[in-house]
Amino acid sequence: MLTTIYALAFYFATILLVVGIAYRIYEYAKVPAPLNIATTPAPTTVSGVWYRMFREVALFESLFKANKWIWIFGYLFHVGLLLVLIRHIRYFVDPRYVPDLIWLGITYIQPIGKYAGFAMVFGLAGLAIRRIVVNRVRYISSPSDHLMLLLLILIGVSGFMMQYVDRTDIVSVKNFFLSLAYLNMFDWQPLPDSLPLMVHLTLVLTLMIIFPYSKLLHAPGIFFSPTRNQVDNPREKRRLAPWAKALESGSDKK
């Protein structure tokens, strides 16, 4: 019964997540950027913009300029999360279908991923404390801002519980997810009976569902941010949004 509920919930959440993100990207892509508003100094070439974007995504360059505390906590959280996610790949894929080299990488990252989990929760805790203690940040926070941090922290903590407190039979968990992946409808491998696991999975489901409709979906935002992704070439290159082009046909221009 429990297995069925979780299986259906994961299908539902996955579809929502994928469709939600894809739809958001589609929406951003279809809205024109009618003017060049790159924050300067900006790169004057496309490759320069790629480099700028890389620095923003991989190093959080602007955030580093802005505030070292937010940068440290935010960076620990995001890099920690990335490593933890890579570590989790092992639970969702069948090694038979993964090239050896990649599987080797996933194997090697396992111990690192464990520590990364601590870095992630540490970073989140730092951000959460800042949100409460620093009056400027407290002022701009809505209940949801606090709750999202709490949600992520609890996902991490419940994960630790599965590892260190009430060790979960991870092989069964993997079998469950593989049976989901193989679309063995209503013939899913049973989830092991474990409270931390139930908590962990429920929180992850919650995260997957709210992700596409909340500020958590800020990652595509950076790629579509005109102040960051535009080439500084407005004197050389004219840009005309479709709606702006329509104005051109008016009789006011010689």
């Binding site: 958001r24 809205v31 950027a33 924050t39 923003e56 959080f60 701009i140 949004a241």
Partner: protein
């Protein structure tokens, strides 16, 4: 006299152990400190002149909400920036208005949230289901007034956009907010009246063609008296090579006029055939301040028409910050293509780029000692610094004006690194708030810049502040005295050029009188006539 008062210096020296405040020092947070600052609203005529409703329409909520929907389809920036903020707090201490007032609604993210909260309520699922949870709220009359007050406490200087990890630019939000307010009939008098003047007359000041011509004749006489040579300030001269588009403040305000003299001398010395235009007698484009593409485009097209009419080959912009943004970054889109101009030159060119090139080519000679009575520092104007470029390389907008200053002055010192270049703090008067009814925020917003200036004044003996923006110049002339500086401490960059340039055809026998710091009559431009 543009130096610090001697008595004041002594007083400071005797007080040497008192540390100067950090220019970017964090204020005590004072919620609602600025909530009642309400600039004059546009009269019905100011509104209708620009194609907006004359007064608040009956169904203004519906119109405003629909306008939000419209803008999110038209501007990717608006859409992405409303969605992407994670409230990390990186921007919270970056706005000079927050630093100067302590009002938390002047923190960039909080300023954005005034609109974002409404966007969330009507355009996002969580905001529709659980507004209390995600900080969404209904659009009420109080909210509209809050918009009006706080979106006119933003100079659209983009300092916040430098530090935001997603590049969220509050200027985009405040422009959109002003456009929404205009569309429901709640515009601002200062901006909208000025734009209407440009549409009907050609410049922010409302100076008719005849007056411009007469003024230039006066200026030519003044220049002849000073230099002994006949330096022209041509107006509407057909067939000239260069069209100079400059802020109309250069025709009437100090120290702007001295900058205009500098351009004229450079053109004369280089033998450039140039002209002003009476129809495009304004570089500033307040259409940007109110986020109106239509108005911005209409103002820009005047330049295109003038260029075609006069048959010029190139366009050069005078010293003006937001103007240079529209000129550099938008003009090609709004009024291009410029295929009828000489392709050898970028369109448009900044006067500093032009002078810099001439200096590099060794075509200009200077007597730098003519500026020895001053020690200069340079105020990077916000929109030049963060929205444009000069020259070929990123950052040329910082290097080129400094290079020009250093070519004509012996004494120069930069202010604190985190208050200049891309981190420059705005003068406090940009983006459509250079009006007396907003004097409170203008003075408070200038605080970080004034503190940075105080520091170099005391530590490096800086006496004067140079700028390349008409708004900065007018704003500083007003606020410098409030911070115990001389109002004449503000200089145009081309005023410094004008002081030092050696005119090769000047009569050799009599020395031209050494130029004093700008000869003002002490009159401040009145509020209604501060036109950027």
């Amino acid at each position: 006299m543009s130096e610090l008062d001697k008595s004041e210096l002594d007083e400071v020296n005797s007080d040497a152990d008192t540390a100067l405040p950090d220019p970017l020092e964090m204020p005590e947070m004072v919620p609602d400190a600025m909530k009642d600052l309400h600039s004059f609203e546009a009269a019905p005529k100011h509104q209708t002149d620009l194609g907006f409703p004359g007064e608040l329409v009956d169904d203004w909520q519906d119109v405003a909400i629909a306008k939000i929907g419209d803008l999110r389809q038209k501007y990717r920036s608006f859409r992405v920036y409303l969605d992407s903020c994670v409230k990390c707090g990186a921007c919270t201490d970056k706005c000079h208005y927050y630093l100067g007032t302590g009002d938390p609604k002047n923190m960039p993210v909080a300023r954005q949230d005034l609109l974002r909260s409404v966007y969330r309520r009507y355009y996002t699922i969580p905001g529709k289901i659980a507004p209390w949870l995600v900080g969404a709220r209904d659009l009420t009359e109080d909210v509209l007034n809050e918009w009006y007050n706080y979106y006119h406490q933003c100079s659209q200087c983009r300092r916040c956009s430098v530090y935001c990890p997603y590049g969220i630019d509050t200027a985009e939000i405040s422009m959109a907010a002003r456009e929404i307010m205009d569309s429901v009939g709640k515009g601002q008098k200062y901006c909208n009246e000025i734009i209407a003047k440009v549409h009907s007359i050609g410049n922010n000041l409302g100076m008719p063609a005849k007056a411009i011509k007469a003024t230039m004749v006066d200026f030519e006489e003044e220049l002849e008296e000073e230099t002994g040579i006949n330096i022209k300030l041509p107006v509407d001269k057909k067939g000239a090579d260069v069209l100079l588009v400059t802020p109309s403040a250069d025709f009437f305000a100090e120290p702007h006029i001295d900058g205009l003299f500098g351009y004229a001398k450079v053109f004369h010395e280089l033998g450039i055939d140039w002209t002003l235009s009476t129809t495009a007698s304004e570089a500033g484009n307040f259409g940007m301040f109110i986020g109106s593409y239509d108005n911005m485009r209409k103002v820009s097209l005047r330049i295109r028409e003038a260029a075609l009419e006069l048959g010029v080959k190139r366009i050069i912009f005078g010293e003006c910050g937001h103007a240079w943004r529209v000129g550099y970054a938008f003009l090609n889109t709004l009024a291009g293509p410029w295929d009828f101009l000489d392709p050898k030159y970028p369109v448009p060119q900044h006067i500093c780029e032009f002078t810099f090139d001439a200096i590099n080519d060794g075509k200009l000679k200077f007597d730098k000692t003519k500026n020895d009575h001053m020690t200069l520092t340079f105020h990077d104007s916000c929109n030049v610094a963060r929205a444009t470029r000069m020259g070929d390389k990123p950052g040329g907008q910082f290097e080129i004006p400094r290079a020009v200053i250093k070519a004509v002055c012996n004494n120069y010192h930069d202010m604190d690194e985190d208050t200049i270049k891309e981190g420059t703090v705005c003068c406090g008067g940009g983006g459509g708030i250079l009006t007396d009814d907003l004097m409170d925020i203008r003075v408070k917003g200038a605080q970080p810049r004034m503190r940075a200036l105080r520091k170099v004044t005391e530590e490096h003996g800086v006496t004067n502040l140079a700028a390349i923006c008409a708004i900065c110049k007018s704003q500083f002339a007003k606020v410098l005295p409030k911070y115990d500086f001389d109002m004449e401490a503000i200089q145009s960059v081309h005023q410094l050029v004008s002081n030092a340039i050696i005119m090769s055809d000047a009569p050799k026998e009599e020395e031209a009188p050494a130029p004093e710091a700008p000869a003002t009559n002490g009159d401040e431009p009145s509020a209604s006539s501060e036109t950027g």
